[in-house]
Subunit: 735 residues, 2 copies
Amino acid sequence: MRRLASFRSLVWCCVLVAASPAPPPSRPPGAEDGYDLWLRYRLVGDAGRLAEYRAALTHLVVEGDSPTLRAAHDELAHGLRGLLGADIPSADHVRGDGALIAGTPATSRLIAALPPPVADELTRAGDEGFVLRALRVQHRQAIVIAANRDIGVLYGAFALLRLIQTDSPLSDLPVVSAPQLRLRLLDHWDNLDGTVERGYAGPSLWDWAHLPDSIDPRYRDYARANASLGINGTVLTNVNADARVLAPDFLAKVAALAAVFRPYGLRVYLTARFSAPIELGGLATADPFDPAVSAWWRGKVDEIYHVVPDFGGFVVKANSEGQPGPQDYHRTHADGANLLADALRPYGGMVMWRAFVYANQVPTDRVRQAYDEFVPLDSRFRDNVLVQVKNGPLDFQPREPFHPLFGAMPRTPLMMEVQITKEYLGQDTHLAFLAPMWEEVLRADTYSHGAGSTVARQIRGLAGVANIGSDRDWCGSDFNQANWYAFGRLAWDDSLSSAAIADEWIRMTFSNDRHVVDPVKALMLASREAVVNYMTPLGLAHQMARGHHYGPGPWVSGGRADQTSVYFNRADSAGLGFDRTASGSNGVGQYFPPVRNRFASRDSVPETLLLWFHHVRWNERLRSGSTLWEELLRHYEAGVDTVRWMERTWDGLEGLVDAERFRRVQGFLRIQDVEARWWRDASVAYWESFSHLPLPPGYEAPAHPLDWYRLLRCPPDPRKPRCAVLGGARVPADK
Amino acid sequence: MRRLASFRSLVWCCVLVAASPAPPPSRPPGAEDGYDLWLRYRLVGDAGRLAEYRAALTHLVVEGDSPTLRAAHDELAHGLRGLLGADIPSADHVRGDGALIAGTPATSRLIAALPPPVADELTRAGDEGFVLRALRVQHRQAIVIAANRDIGVLYGAFALLRLIQTDSPLSDLPVVSAPQLRLRLLDHWDNLDGTVERGYAGPSLWDWAHLPDSIDPRYRDYARANASLGINGTVLTNVNADARVLAPDFLAKVAALAAVFRPYGLRVYLTARFSAPIELGGLATADPFDPAVSAWWRGKVDEIYHVVPDFGGFVVKANSEGQPGPQDYHRTHADGANLLADALRPYGGMVMWRAFVYANQVPTDRVRQAYDEFVPLDSRFRDNVLVQVKNGPLDFQPREPFHPLFGAMPRTPLMMEVQITKEYLGQDTHLAFLAPMWEEVLRADTYSHGAGSTVARQIRGLAGVANIGSDRDWCGSDFNQANWYAFGRLAWDDSLSSAAIADEWIRMTFSNDRHVVDPVKALMLASREAVVNYMTPLGLAHQMARGHHYGPGPWVSGGRADQTSVYFNRADSAGLGFDRTASGSNGVGQYFPPVRNRFASRDSVPETLLLWFHHVRWNERLRSGSTLWEELLRHYEAGVDTVRWMERTWDGLEGLVDAERFRRVQGFLRIQDVEARWWRDASVAYWESFSHLPLPPGYEAPAHPLDWYRLLRCPPDPRKPRCAVLGGARVPADK
C-alpha cells in the first residue's frame, strides 16, 4: 500500500477509465431525486471558470494502489468528468501543464519530491489533513493534493472538487486543512428490526436481513458522502441497544459493512447493551466487578476485532430511560465504562459513555442531573473513555443553553452529541437549518478556564444523531441534507460560519446562480429561529406532544413528571417559566461564575433563555419595554411570519431550481406553514387559559378553541407523524 | 382532446424536445439499481438492428394533445433516445422516410386517412388495443401506432418500444393486439400506517403523510410501468381495510394519486371496510338493509366521484379472518355486495367481492368453504359486482389445483386473484418465476361447459396482489420484477407462454445476448417447480411456519385448526395427505365430472396433486413404481439440487451481467441455497418421525435433528424475516 507507483497501479487507472463510458440515458433526464446529495458534479455553468478548470486540470496522476487512493482516484475521475464535461485521462507521469497530482510522500515520487514549503504544510496537515497547492512540478504547471496518509488524499480530493463545485478560483490555493476534533461521528439510532428511533427518512439503511450475502450499493455512497465531509466514524446501532448485534451472525454483517466503509476512513462503532453478558453470554450478572463479566467482555471484544480489525469501540447508554447499567449493581458510571475500556484498550478502541441519564426518582430539576452525577466522577475514567454530553442539559430542544458539564470535568475527555435528525424541530418536513444552533453552542464561552474557554475547546469529538434512512433522498427532505452536511463540516472545522456552510451547500446542491444562492441562504439562516419562535420562544422547552414529539402539547401532564410539558413550563396564574436561580432549583449554580451570574440576573439573562432560567409574571415588563405576554405573542407571530416569508421566497425561485425539487420543497413549506400556525395557536390558547390576558390588536387569533387542539391525534404512520394537520385538512384522528 | 393536431400540440412537442438535453453524468456510470425495471432503454447492441431501427424511425409525428397522448409522445421520445442513441425529432408532418406516426382517427389526420385494412384492424383492436403497422404514408415509408382511444396509443407505444428492446425485426409488423380481460388490476395490501401486509420490498409506496402536498415522482414511474403492461387499475389499500381511507382528508390524497395515474389509463380503486358507516359515519349499524346505511354509502360514493371522477370501485373482504361483513347482520354476501354496487352504479363503478372467506366454525375441509358459500348465491349479485376468486381454493400456495368456483357460477362474473408477492414462495429472496404457475391455472380445463372451458374463459378480470414497495428496485429483488411483468403480460394476453414472457423480460432487463437469455430463461422456468419441490412437493400445502409464512413448519398445530400445518398434511403413522375423495371430505365433488373423476382416482390424479386429494401410505407404490416415501425424498432432493444448479448457472454469467445485479442476485441465491436445504431437512426430519423409514443410500441426511428446526425463531425485522438462517450462520434467535 505504501510503495511507490507501480505498473500495477497504473494498469488499474487505465482499466478504470476505460471501463467507464458515459451512462446512456435511462430515465427522463434531469431527475433530481436527491440521491446525489451535494456530490452532484454537474457541468460548471460559468464559461470562464470552466475554461480555467479545464486548462488547470488536464490529466490525473494518482500514484499508489491502496483502496483509499483508488477511491480518491475514482472520485476525482468521476467528479471531474461531470464538472468539466469530459474524461480527464489518468497518467503515470506529468505529461504537460495541468497535471492533478495526488498522493502521499510514501506512495508518490512526485509528492515526495515537492519543495520544502509543502513539507512544512504537510506537518501542519497532520494525520488526517491535506494540502492543496498550485505549483510547478517538473517545469509544468500542476495542482497537488498532498497528505501524510492516504485518507488525507481522499479528503483533499473532495475538498478540491468542492472548490470547483462552488465556482471558486483555483488561485485561492494553497489550502492547508486539518480537523480540530479527532472523532467525528454519526450515531445511527437504528434498530435491528429495521426501524429507526426518531428517524424520519424511511427504514434503516442497514439491510440486516440480507447482509452479509447481499451488499447494497448505497453503503458505498453513504461512505463517500461521509468522507466528503471528513466524518470518520459511524455508530451503526441505537443507543437503546439490542445485545443481539454482538452475536456472531450479526457481527458477520457488521464486518461486511466495515469492509465497504474502510477505504473511506469510516470506522464502525456499535452500541453495547450493558446486560449483554446475561442476555448473550448466559451469565447470571453483568456486574462490572465480576471476573466472569470482564472475561466475557474481553472475549467478545477479541471476537469483534477478529472480524473488524479497525473497530472503533462502543457507545453506551446506561441507567437512563430504563436501560441497564452499572448502577443496577451499585457501581458507578466510571466502573461500567472502565469495564469496557479495559477490554478495548489492547486494540485502541474507545468507549463513549453517555451522560444523558435519568434518575429513578423524579428530580426537582431534571436538567441538573447529568452534572450532579458525573462531575464527582472526574478523573475516575480510563483514558480511552470519553463522556458524551448532549449540547444542552435537557434533550435536543430547538434552543437550550449549553450543557454545564462542558469545562466542568477537566480530567475527563468529553464528546459533544447533537441531533441531526430533527426530533423536536419539525422532523422530516419543517425546514430548519441547524448550523446556527450548533455554531451557537460551539462558540458559547464556558469560562471554565477563563474567557475564551468555548465549548468547542472543551471537547475531543462531535457525534451527531443521524437523519439518514433508506428514503431515496437519504434524509427525508432536500433541506435535511444540509444538516448532515453542516454537521460534518463543523466537526471538521468549527470556525466555519453557518453562512459559509450554507453557501457551499447551496452551490453544490442547487446552483451557483446568486439569484438562487442569496435567497436560499437567507431562508436557511432564518429557519431555525423561526422554529424556536413558533414552537418554544423565549427559553421555553419540551412543549411538544407526548411520544412523537411532533406537534404542540404544552398541556401534557401525567406519567413521569420530568417528561411532561407542565414540569418544564411551570405555567400558573402568576406567570411562566422555570426558576433555576438560587431561589429556585439553582441550576444556574452549575455554570462557571461569570456565566452563572449572567443567567441568574433578570437584567443580564439573554432574552432567548429568559424562561429557561426564570419564572416571569405575565405582565412583567422585560428589558424590551414590553410585557412578557406581549413579547411571547410577538415571538410566536414572528415564527409564523418567517415561515410565510420563507414560502414566498421559495416560490420566487420557480424556474431557477429544477421543477422536481422546487415542487417537493414547496409542498413541505406548505405543510410547515399550516403547522407553524398550529403550534402558535395551540400554545397561545393554552397560555391564555392562565394569563387571562387579551390578544393585542392586530394579532391573529387562534383558529380554534383550546380543546380542539388538545383533542388532535396523530394518524397511523409512526414514521411520519402528521398529527392530523395536513394541507389544511384537519381531522381528529386516532379514533 | 379529440380534435385534430393543432398548432398548440405541435408547440409542446417542440418545447418538450428542446427542454430535454442528455443528462450529465451524476454518479458512477452504469448504476444498475433496478429502478428502471424493464424500461431501461439502453442503446441497441446489435449494429445491424440499430441501423435498421435508425432508418425506420427518423422522426416522430404524434398528433393530439391529451395528457395520455403526451405521455405516449414522451415515452417514445425518451425510449428512442436511449435505444437509438440520438434524439428523434418531433414533427408536425411526414417529412421523409421513417416517420413514426401515432394517434387515433379522432386526433390525427394521418391516422384517419390510413387505408381500409388498418380500419379493419382497428375494429379488432377495440377500446384498449392498438395496431402497429409498417406502411407507406404520403408516399414515404412510415411506422404507425394506431388505436381507437388515446390509451391504446400509449399501449402501442410501449409495445413498439418492447419490440426494439428485444431486438425484434420491424418486419414482424403488423401487430394487432387487444386484451381479453377488461379488468387488469394490481391489489396493494398497503396499510395507512405505511406497512404492507405480505410486502417484502420496504414500506408502502404511498406516502400518505405528505400527500397531497407533496407528490413523489415515483408515482409517475409506477404508472408508466403499469401502462407498459396494460395494467389498468390499482387498488391502493389493503383488503384488511381501514375505514379512514374514506375520510375526506384521505380522499384528497387518493385524488392526488389518481391525477398522476390518469394519463396512464390506471384507475384507482379502494378497499371498503364494511363497517365504515359505523366507524366513519357514526351510525349504529352497517346492516345492508338499513336505509341509513345505504344512504351513507351513496353519499360517500358521491363524495369519492366528486374528487376522483374515474374512480374504479371497491374491493371488499367481508366475513373473513375477522373482517366485518353482511353476515354480522344475517345478510348474505350478495346483500352486502349489492349495497355497494347500487351506490356505485350511477357512476359505472364496480364491486369486487372476495370469495376468500373463513367460517366462524372450523370446517371439516377448509378448501370447500368458498364454493359452498358462494355457489348458492349465483344470480343474486348485481351486474356491477364481480366475485373475486383466488387461483386455488386454499391460499396462494406454491401449488394448488384450480379453484372449483371457476365455471361454477355461470350467472355471476368472476375475477381471478393471484399473488404476485411471494408470501408462500420465499418472499423477497427466493428466485421463483410465477408465470408457469399462472399459466397452469389459466389453462386448466374446468369442463364447466364441456372440454375447453379453461379457467381463462371463466373470468372477466385478473387481480394480482402487488409485490411493490418503496425499495429502490420496487420489488425487493431483481427477479421479483419479472413477476410484476409476467402478471401484466398474462392479464393482457393469456395465450402468452411463460417462456415467451421470460424471454422478453430478460432481454429488456438484462441483455439480448443469447449467452445471457438462454441460461437465465432456463433458470427462471425451473424456479417455481424447485420451490414446490423443496417446500411442498406432491400436492402438500400450507406447511410453513406460523405468522410469517417464510420457513418450514410442518409441525405447526394449536390455535385455529384450519390455519395449522397438521390440519393440511394429515401426517400419521400410516401415511400422508388430505383425503378429499368421497371417502374423505369429498372436496373432489366440487369439480365438474371429468375433472372430479381424474382427481378422485389414485390412477389418474396428477402426481403433483397427489397429497392434496389423497391420504397415501408411506410405503405405497405410486404410478412411478417408487413408494411415496422414496418419491417424497426424491422431490425434496430435486428442489435443493435445482437451486444449486440455478446458483451455478448464475455464477456462469459473471461478466455478462453488470456487476451490481450479478452480485445482488448471487447473494440472494446463496441465501436460497441455505434455505432450500433448511426446508428439505426440516420437512424430511418431521415426516421421518411418522414414517420411521430409513433414508435411501446416497440421500443427504438432515443437518440437524428435528428439534433444532422446531426451535428456530425469526430475527427482528418483520419486513424481511430471515428466520435465523442466513448465509450459513444459524442461531436460534428470538430469545
